[in-house]
């Protein structure tokens, strides 16, 4: 097997295992830390797809900022200190059945896809970020979404301050 395939399988197993631990750990802070591991694995997957910039941006934003925000939000509640109770629901077989059906449907759909044999397009990494930059600000590219993104970010900041900041 290709060494890249082996590395991909390892990375994918790490992401899956970490994701399973996120939803099954009773301790909320540990769940946030397992999420950090899952995000690391995703960054590794981006590297394998030759998208270095997206991988590093993932680590900067998700792990550097959003995980810290999530851990703060978890610690803001008192729930984190108390026992979370039983981990499984009484009628757990129904969601399990539905997810198994969804999984089977996805596998059936993907098995007919012809893209598995396609090789990665030849891509010079030196121009990767330059092309992304040009696409972001060119009017034929993504200029309007770029500016809308900044409005969205401002709205997020203003909204969060309005909701969270209590004037005394």
């Amino acid at each position: 097997m290709d060494p890249i395939q082996i590395i991909f399988i390892v990375v994918a197993l790490v992401v899956l295992a970490a994701a399973v631990m996120v939803v099954t750990t009773p301790n909320l802070v540990r769940a946030a830390l397992w999420l950090v591991l899952a995000l690391f694995g995703t960054a590794g997957a981006y590297v394998l797809l030759n998208a270095g910039f997206i991988a590093v941006a993932q680590v900067v934003i998700y792990i550097g900022a959003i995980s810290i925000l999530m851990i703060f939000a978890v610690m803001l509640t008192r729930r984190v200190m108390t026992d979370s109770g039983p981990q499984t629901h009484q009628t757990w077989w129904l969601p399990a059945l539905l997810s198994a059906a969804l999984f089977a449907g996805l596998v059936w759909m993907l098995s007919g896809w012809s893209g598995f044999e396609a090789s990665m397009p030849a891509y010079s990494d030196a121009n990767q970020v330059v092309e992304l930059g040009v696409a972001l600000v060119s009017p034929e590219g993504f200029l309007i979404p770029f500016e809308v993104a900044s409005v969205l970010l401002s709205a997020a900041l203003i909204g969060a301050i309005y909701v969270a900041w209590d004037r005394d």
Binding site: V130, E147, S154
Partner: protein
Amino acid sequence: MLDNWLFVGIFVLIGAVFPIAPILMGKFLGPNKPNPIKADTYECGMETVGESWIQFKVQYYIFALAFLIFDVEVVFLFPWAVAFDQLGIFAVVSGITFIIILVDALVYAWRKGALEWA
């Protein structure tokens, strides 16, 4: 290009080993006499009363959130800065507009007093 990242991948694996080795060495070299007083929580010599939990101020959350917003903004600006040679003056002005919209948000936070530590 993946070769460049191979170095980083190996560094991640070995870089995890480098701090673990001294800690393991410390475990073996040091004495091991556990004692309930030694394992007590430190509070300048006094006994601890109550749980080890403090009231979390919402201020910490606001700072982390403002950091997140500006972090995302700068990550958007990195490709813009790298592609500077290919851009005309219009693209430069649109990048500056992006920054100014977020400066407005910072001014709002400032005037509302959300950036105080109080």
